[in-house]
Amino acid sequence: MPTNSLAYSAKGDPHLTVTSNSPRNSSSGPYRGLETASDELWMALHLPLLPLVASTTITTQTATVVCQKNQHQYRVIAANRSAEEGGIRTNMALSTARTLVPQVRVLDRDLQAEQLAMEQLATFATAWSPTVVIQHDRVLLLEIGSCLRLHHGLPTLMKSVHKSLPSEKLGCRIAVTPTPASAVLCARSGDAVCVTDRARLISCIGSVSVQKMKLTRRQHTLLMRLGIKHIGDLLRLPRDGLVRRLGLELLQDLDRLTGKRSDPQPIFKPPLCFEESIDFEREISEVEQLLPESKRLLARLEQYLQRSCAAINHFEWRLQHESHSCTQIPIRLNRPQQRTTLLLDLAQLALETSFPTEGVTQFALYAHPLPLSQLENMFLLPSTEPCEPDQLLDQLYTRLGQRAVRSIGCHPDHKPENAWISCQPGMRKPVFPSAARPLWLFRSPRPLVIQNGRPCFHGPLELSRHERIAANWWNETPVQRDYYQAQSNRGPIWIYRELETGHWYIHGIF
């Protein structure tokens, strides 16, 4: 069974509690009136179980934790459900966790894989909003206020997010608030919050514990001593006193939470190339087993291209083997394409043609997209040519190779063999007027039989239309030939006599 570390399939319907402090809203449905919000609105997705998903592709029922060394001690970063049922909590020392659940499976945190997974998710999230921010510690931030109309309102967007993310697997917690800092704070604190009004924001974050904020040890002790437990208490304190006692930074943090201070965010840019892979638990040796996967990968590529407004004219299958060698199957397209699902036949043809004999452990699709702006001329106007050979050419190239498919044109050369040229299909070459030439030329001139001192081809020949071709005396392949049109019993043919040797040859038939 293939497993994909981040399959965005619908995994049940997670429950979202919407806290709305407005009596108007709470009386008639949780989401009413949200569509009118036109200001900035941020959605934060906290994914506490991402380390688990990134570290292992296998989902088991046994208690599993991911741990990381922190100040000479291993601490639990993420724990799956059965581990939590055994009493293991995040940030617990590993030794404690082992005491609680002796048979616990411990995985090392793979930060690189986590970052990769985060980037994949961020790329995926560009479907909902162009402004996506990867926040530290497993939080994804999206500005959604500007694209609510596109998604037909917030409820539809929320549904779409829940449906497409494996929320349960990632332990996803979503918060929607008007400021980025507060959205992140709420998502981290674990409350599913949906506030669209700035006025209601203060009361919403007021109940969050101050410990969720970034505090130094000194600030923390001081606040505890003052008996300040919630952010609401902090907000009620006089600002100048707060700065004096706890420093300017904390006040600035508070202002970012409430939106008093601007909070610019580094926007995530989707990677320039598309690369996605599927790992197999067992070696795959039949190409048929890859076909459904290739369909899935191509669909993902199409989504990616649509989101990033790009097209591809080249993509590549990469098949990883047990021996760590890699088979690359490149596919070149005659014209840039965005609808890659239409290329399924072509892609499968390429796979079938060059499927390696060695078993495959990983199957990847790699593509380097071109932005559509570069191709504007190609897409702006409908094609003037009634039929484009792209699809056929792509297929032929894929199976036969580039060099097998050509077109021909005339070439200004006196030597008959060189008066034609093989060129790229679709190239328009100028036509030069020439003397009478045969329609069919032999690949190489064939010597003629001589009878009674005269050349013969299926019987005696009548010669006419003499033409002397003396060319290329300026380079290494000089020709000096006397050409004749000859009438044979099989119709007119084109023959010549080599001046140097006096030998007769047939060169083509008219």
Binding site: R406, P425, S434, W440, F442, I509
Partner: protein, 210 residues
């Protein structure tokens, strides 16, 4: 009371009816057109021309038709020709070279695949091919592909292919002579086989002389 089979069974096909709506393309040789149903090469079907030596293909027989197909703006594929279709002469004969595909499949089993793809793609108005072997299932597949792609499939085979059964819509045996050629219709869908049709060529081939 007269006996009229079609009134008894509607699905009985009579040789005189049908095939009249088949598209055809004048060959450019009136003597041949007269003998072919529809008055020319059958389009959307497979035509087989049996020649003595496939390395000496009589292109003059088909160039008028290929030039006439040029207005369609579709492509013309030449699959595995055994010689060189000579560009200067083809251009003189009115064939649009920029719409020509010259395909040389590297392996034998790619050949039929290439012909089938080109015929069925609806991109080529004509597909000329020089298959080494063509009978039974293969010719049936090509015939179906030609119908699907509304393309004129043309195969040049050697004389000894005459002994094999094919599903080509038209099968000609071509014997060149001094004045032109002698053509025998071996098989013709909707028509009848005919022997020794004399084709006359223009006295001198096109092109200007010095």
């Amino acid at each position: 009371m007269s006996f009229d089979p079609p009134q008894i069974r509607k699905d009985i096909w009579r040789g005189t009816s049908g095939f009249t709506n088949t598209l055809s393309l004048p060959t450019g040789y009136p003597q041949l057109d007269q003998c072919l149903p529809g008055g020319g090469w059958p389009l959307g079907a497979l035509t087989e021309i049996l020649v003595e030596n496939t390395a000496e293909t009589p292109l003059w027989l088909i160039t008028p038709a290929l030039a006439a197909l040029g207005h369609e703006q579709r492509w013309q594929a030449w699959v595995a020709p055994t010689g060189i279709p000579y560009a200067p002469a083809l251009a003189n004969a009115g064939i649009n070279l920029s719409k020509m595909l010259l395909i040389h499949p590297p392996a034998c089993n790619d050949l039929l695949w290439t012909i089938e793809q080109s015929l069925g793609s609806n991109i080529c108005s004509a597909v000329l091919s020089w298959p080494t072997r063509l009978y039974g299932t293969a010719s049936r597949r090509l015939q179906l592909a030609a119908k699907r792609g509304r393309s004129w499939g043309l195969c040049f085979c050697s004389y000894n292919h005459a002994q094999y059964q094919t599903t080509a819509a038209l099968r000609l045996l071509f014997r060149p002579n001094r004045r032109g050629a002698e053509v025998t219709i071996l098989k013709c869908r909707g028509g009848q086989s005919m022997k020794n049709i004399q084709l006359l060529r223009e006295v001198s081939p096109p092109g200007y002389s010095r």
